[in-house]
Amino acid sequence: MKILVPVKRVVDYNIKVRVKSDGTGVETAGLKMSMNPFDEIAVEEAVRLREKGAATEVVAVSIGVQQAQDTLRTALAMGADRAILVLTEESPEPLAVAKILKVLVEREKPELAFLGKQAIDDDMNATGQMLAGLLGWPQGTFASKVEIVDGRAEVTREIDGGSETVSLTLPAIVTADLRLNEPRYASLPNIMKAKKKPLETLQGADLGVDLTRRLTTVSVAEPPSRKAGVTVKSVAELVEKLRNEAKVI
């Protein structure tokens, strides 16, 4: 079983971005970039499935600028077998990404596509579901546990108020939630080895996919900031403020 794992290069998890002063977007120049954390979890799970013998090959894919190959090298260092970079000018929308991935799925014929549930930059939480829709495949989103049983994927999903388990025919789409696993750190020898693993580069424009954006960003603004609060000295003062000033208890 082959697993396709799309990974996205995003501003590092620990960095708080600033809105550009002209309101056209957020400032990303010079910031540390990393693999989207949910995608790391997806890579880890795919590699574990291969290590358990449930999968034979893990192919990482990234779509974006040339530097996304660093993200792919990280995936390779974590244990992916080979990588494909689809070059596009800017970060395409989930709809376009899903269409590009569909082309790759038709070429690579994986039985599982394993994605992070959302990217922490645009917070769309959409690509996996959209790819599933375009392919007509079943989807197991927000996965906290994945097992391959009798040629089906049993996916335990995080839902409001708890969890549920669904059983999907293969091929299928799975998207990873936070608690699916703890991704490994790539060891130095594996980072060195990753440099020798195959990385193929494709031109997004050659894939016959319309990348036209459907959403125009009108403006990007800072969220309204909360006015500075006060430090209270005692529980009694807190209770008094909550009762008489804030009137919430």
Binding site: V17, V235, L238
Partner: protein, 311 residues
């Protein structure tokens, strides 16, 4: 314009998150509410949806294949009904987030998740970067597929309306996805997303036992829901669905009491729209203190019992 809202119900009432989606839809046009389930469940859900003022018509889709809100048949159903509508909406709930992007892909539409404000019929405000920036986006798609951030829209009332119910002929089928089981522990506490008061704990609690011993009595006193930071969930103090933050629940209660939570940006993203925030923390420099209306600096193991006793 007429707008279709996929509506979730629970215990004979439309869920609050769905009533927020209905409220958002009212800003766009006439509201038709879609309810699904097996025959009996869809009947009960339709009765609940018909009572929500602002709903002009209820579409009831009853079939066994729709019993568990599986994305595959549900998306096909919504797509089959989409022709009549300019906008397709759902709450940004686990179900809405699972289904609506699939619907959008099938319609060749770029979905707009987590809508916080509606500027006009094509233009919407949504959070990016864990809510550290708000993007106003204009869609060129002929149909819009939106999920609605519940905390940003006052919910429509649960009662008072009497919309007509129309049964939908369900022809969708699915053989790819099968429901196996569900684990949703019942609780007497209010749901996080609709609670008026939330008592939330973090790393500072140090153990699940301390959640039980210190936070629960306080929550009991206040009739509050219990939330948690990611660290508290990852450490196994409380179940996953307690997590408040970028990738957990987005909440906006009247009162949010953060106990032993430092306030990572991902956590703040999930609760900073709360009306009043109280921070109980030993560190006066903690980020949570910067957003709190009232901060009490000290040992939570002394403060929390004292607060519980004082209420």
């Amino acid at each position: 314009m007429t707008v279709l809202v996929f509506v979730e119900t629970e215990a004979g009432q439309v869920r609050q998150a769905s009533r927020s989606a209905i409220a958002a839809a009212e800003k766009l046009g006439d509201v038709h509410a879609l309810v699904v389930g097996d025959a009996a469940a869809s009947e009960a859900a339709a009765a609940a949806a018909a009572k929500v003022p602002g709903v002009a018509k209820v579409l009831k889709a009853g079939a066994d294949v729709l019993a568990h809100d599986l994305a595959e048949p549900l998306a096909d159903l919504i797509v089959s009904l989409a022709g009549n509508y300019t906008h397709l909406l759902a709450a940004s709930s686990a179900i809405g987030k699972n289904v609506m992007p699939r619907v959008a892909a099938l319609l060749d539409v770029q979905p707009i998740p987590d809508v916080m404000a509606i500027v006009d019929a094509d233009t919407f405000v949504r959070p990016i970067y864990a809510g550290n920036a708000l993007a106003t986006v204009k869609s060129s798609d002929a149909k819009k597929v939106l999920t609605i951030r519940a905390a940003s829209f006052d919910p429509a009332p649960a009662e008072g309306g009497s919309a007509p119910v129309e049964a939908v002929n369900v022809t969708v089928q699915d053989t790819t996805s099968r429901f196996v089981s569900q684990h949703t522990p019942t609780s007497d506490r209010p749901e996080l997303e609709s609670a008026r008061v939330i008592v939330s704990g973090g790393r500072g609690l140090q153990s699940g036992e301390n959640f039980h011993k210190y936070l629960e009595p306080l929550a009991d006193k206040l009739g509050a829901a219990i939330g948690a930071s990611r660290v508290a969930v990852d450490s196994g103090y409380v179940p996953n669905d307690c997590q408040v933050g970028q990738t957990g629940k987005i909440v906006a209660p009247e009162l949010y009491i953060a106990v032993g939570i430092s306030g990572a940006i991902q956590h703040l993203a999930g609760m900073k729209d709360s009306k009043v925030i109280v921070a109980i923390n030993k560190d006066p420099e903690a980020p949570i203190v910067q957003v709190a209306d009232y901060s009490l600096i000290g040992d939570l193991f002394e403060i929390v019992p004292e607060l519980t006793a004082a209420l």
